[in-house]
């Protein structure tokens, strides 16, 4: 069904009110709308990576206007839909939804606005005008798991996940597989900081610190974190225990607090920024394709970082694993 009629005649305050961009450059570039899940900008992780991609596009692609909205605690699918709809009917095109929670919402709204391009990060929702930006976190995590196994002196490593959801479990699985492929008998401690629907595990650095401390005290010497805002605590704990940690999403040896950068062995890069930028670029070029765009090792969507030089000595070995994954010799399970 087409609901654009409702959209144009009733509530289009932003479009008519003209809160932001002037009309002249609007013709030149796109008006980009971005909808985050809970947390929004400033999570130092996934949402921020999306924001970084947007920023880059803003600078390089001459965007007319950008608008970022974020989810509120305890909202329903209907409210997520309405957020996307509001962006679409206010003239934002393309509209990017960040997070799997928008899966159902984007399917419906994309149908209502067939002329608007949509993208969703981290989910494979299908539609003729929806692009899926999905990542092979398991592959990237495999590599850092291998790195941890090569670097550990105590044959004991750990994983701290923010919230026990399938997405984060993908990180864990890849990490475990990677480590075991190097040392089958390696001991791996696993801890999730909270259970869904309690999402505080992404926001509680103190918890991250305590969990990692427990692992270090029990004998681990490298801990991988996929815990969003709680990850800083893991680095703190590593620093205090004179041990190492592995970062996630961005190259945290560059983005984490300067005081703890030296404990970061490597980071599993999940290039949401690249994905977002690529998508916007293809939009500017008029080459947007619907359907899944998989950012795996092959596509360079996930990777490990080398900043700090701590993995220089094993880089060749890691690259070998990388090649094997890319050419299909090693299959990394995702669930």
């Amino acid at each position: 069904g087409s609901d654009t009629g409702t959209g144009t005649d009733s509530a289009t305050p932003a479009a008519s009110g003209g809160a932001g961009g002037s009309s002249a450059p609007a013709a030149a570039g796109a008006k980009v709308g971005l909808a985050y899940d809970i947390g929004g900008r400033g999570d130092q992780s996934f949402n921020d990576a999306a924001a970084a991609g947007l920023e880059k596009a803003k600078a390089e692609l001459n965007l007319a206007e950008t608008k970022e909205l974020e989810a509120k605690a305890g909202e329903t699918g209907g409210q997520k839909e309405q957020r996307l709809r509001l962006l679409a009917q206010s003239g934002y095109n393309p509209v990017i939804a960040v997070g799997f929670a928008y899966s159902e919402a984007i399917k419906k709204v994309a149908q209502e606005f067939p002329d608007t391009k949509f993208a969703i990060v981290d989910d494979a929702a299908a539609g003729p005008n929806i692009t899926n930006l999905v990542f092979a976190e398991n592959e990237g995590s495999f590599l850092v798991g291998a790195a941890a196994a090569m670097k550990t002196k105590k044959e004991h490593i750990g994983f701290v996940g923010g919230v026990a959801v399938p997405l984060i479990k993908k990180f864990e699985l890849g990490f475990t597989k990677g480590a075991q492929s190097v040392k089958p008998d390696i001991k791996i401690d696993v801890k999730y900081l909270s259970q869904p629907p309690e999402f505080t595990g992404f926001n509680d650095p103190a918890k991250g610190k305590a969990a990692a401390q427990g692992m270090f005290d029990a004998g681990a010497d490298i801990v991988y974190q996929a815990a969003g805002g709680s990850g800083g605590g893991v680095f703190e704990a590593a620093k205090a225990a004179k041990a190492l940690a592995i970062g996630v999403d961005s190259d945290q040896a560059l983005t984490a607090d300067p005081g703890v950068r030296d404990v970061i062995l490597t980071s599993m890069l999940k290039k949401v920024d690249v994905a977002v930028f690529d998508f916007l670029k293809s939009f500017a070029d008029g080459t947007v394709k619907a359907g899944a765009k998989v950012y795996d090792l092959k596509a360079g969507g996930v990777d490990f970082s080398t900043t700090g030089g701590k993995v220089d000595d094993i880089k060749l070995d890691l690259d070998k694993y990388k090649d094997k994954i890319i050419n299909g010799e090693i299959k990394v399970p995702s669930e």
């Binding site: 947390g39 929004g40 900008r41 400033g42 999570d43 130092q44 921020d48 026990a164 401690d189 696993v190 801890k191 999730y192 900081l193 909270s194 259970q195 505080t200 926001n203 509680d204 650095p205 103190a206 918890k207 610190k209 305590a210 969990a211 401390q213 427990g214 692992m215 005290d217 029990a218 805002g229 800083g232 605590g233 703190e236 607090d257 005081g259």
Partner: protein, 423 residues
């Protein structure tokens, strides 16, 4: 005349008999028994983390924010004002604590700012409940909402423009220093790593309490006896408590009830704010939106658990801190070992009920539970992560259900009071 004086004496002693008094000997004995059981469980299961120095240190650190919130609750409720807004005041504390430490480049300035931030919440609560006589729960809920709304708003105004800061977090905060009795650290570690029955456990406990303790933790711990002294040993405290017991009586003796209620509720906010500041300055070293994670409510529960007394709430906070530390550090293994401890405690309790109280049926029920827990322990080797996540909550519930103590809140707690209403 001699007969006249006689009765009050036995009356007093019988009153003493009725009230089971917990003195330091009972406490010490209890602590030793507990350590003994933990030690057994550790040796049996090999879950060495349950009495490790790291666990005890973390337990102490985790007890601090909860304990501070609980102390806040104590101050307020002792003056007769129910404070369900602790969570909101704590949230204000996290934000203001980080802000103060960053702005003035001094963690202690942050501590002070956190206290002030919380105190502002307390002031609002006092205005609503004391001056306007609003239902205490409503006002508390409103303050929780406000705390949740104001801090992100402030972050957008302030932290966004700072390097490392953002809409949902502050830049890093430099915590106040740690102290520890360095000399014995290595020795204790040695004892601990021997995994000797009881000796290693004791070493772990001592190490946890003496190594790398934040100065803020020490301040927080000292606030417990200080609160006790102020509330139970000073004129100020007597007046404040009388406002929570029988405000009209206080009024009739010239005590300015409004004044004491205001002081108590503002102090309550300040303490909760300190708890928040601890989270952002010491525990996390950063402010993050939502980092209190309901600890204000847990603090409230700890205060009720502790029967509106400083010692009691401190033990409630420690129990929660300890079990939380266990599940966070070595979740499945440690909590599994804890099952054995619970089984032992239940068994001991059953024996007490049977021999000490002659309550046969109750003893039987307890014994059945003990056996059930033991069977679960024996037939599993670890506890699923989803279950370890609520270990602290379930433990609290269990202790309360067992203790079945007749908790006694201040007589006028939560009742509206208006000057000149005495009849």
């Amino acid at each position: 005349m001699t007969v006249t004086q006689a009765p009050p004496a036995p009356a007093a002693s019988s009153a003493a008999r009725r009230r089971f008094r917990v003195d330091w000997r009972v406490l010490l004995l209890g602590a030793i028994a507990l350590l003994f059981m933990l030690s057994i469980a550790r040796v049996v299961t090999g879950a060495n983390d349950i009495t490790s120095g790291g666990t005890i240190g973390t337990a102490l650190a985790w007890a601090v924010p909860i304990g501070l919130a609980a102390l806040g609750g104590l101050w307020s409720e002792r003056a007769g004002v129910v404070n369900i807004g602790l969570e909101g005041m704590m949230i204000l504390g996290t934000w203001f604590g980080a802000w103060g430490a960053i702005t003035f480049h001094n963690p202690w300035a942050g501590v002070l700012a956190g206290a002030i931030g919380g105190a502002l919440g307390g002031l609002l609560h006092a205005v609503a409940t004391v001056t306007f006589g609003v239902d205490h729960i409503i006002s508390g809920v409103a303050i929780n909402i406000l705390g949740e709304g104001i801090t992100p708003y402030l972050s957008k105004l302030v932290f966004v423009d700072m390097p490392g800061g953002g809409e949902t977090q502050s830049p890093r905060v430099v915590p106040p220093g740690d102290v520890g009795v360095g000399a014995i650290d290595a020795w204790l570690r040695g004892l601990e790593s021997g995994h000797t029955f009881l000796v290693s456990d004791l070493a772990g406990v001592v190490r946890g309490l003496t190594q790398g303790v934040s100065l803020f933790t020490i301040v927080a711990v000292l606030l417990v006896p200080l609160s006790f002294y102020l509330l139970w040993r000073t004129a100020f405290g007597l007046r404040l408590r009388s406002c929570g017991e029988r405000p009209v009586a206080a009024e009739s003796l010239g005590v300015n009830v409004y004044f004491y209620k205001y002081v108590a509720v503002v102090a309550s906010g300040a303490l909760a704010g300190l708890g928040g500041a601890y989270l952002s300055i010491v525990a996390a070293g950063i402010y993050r939106q939502g980092q209190t994670g309901g600890r204000g409510f847990i603090g409230l529960a700890a205060m009720i658990f502790g029967n509106w007394r400083p010692g009691g709430l401190a033990s409630g906070a420690l129990l929660f801190g300890y079990t939380d530390a266990l599940q966070l550090r070595q979740g499945g293994t440690s909590v599994h070992a804890l099952l054995l401890v619970v089984a032992m405690l239940l068994a001991a309790f059953a024996v007490y009920q049977l021999a000490g109280q002659h309550r046969n049926r109750a003893a039987l029920v307890t014994a059945v539970f003990a056996v059930a827990v033991f069977v679960v322990f024996a037939r599993t080797s670890t506890v699923p992560e989803q279950f370890t996540s609520f270990t602290p909550h379930l433990t609290t519930l269990l202790v309360l259900a067992l203790a079945s103590q007749r908790l006694r809140m201040p007589a006028a707690d939560g009742l509206p009071y208006r000057k000149g209403q005495a009849t």
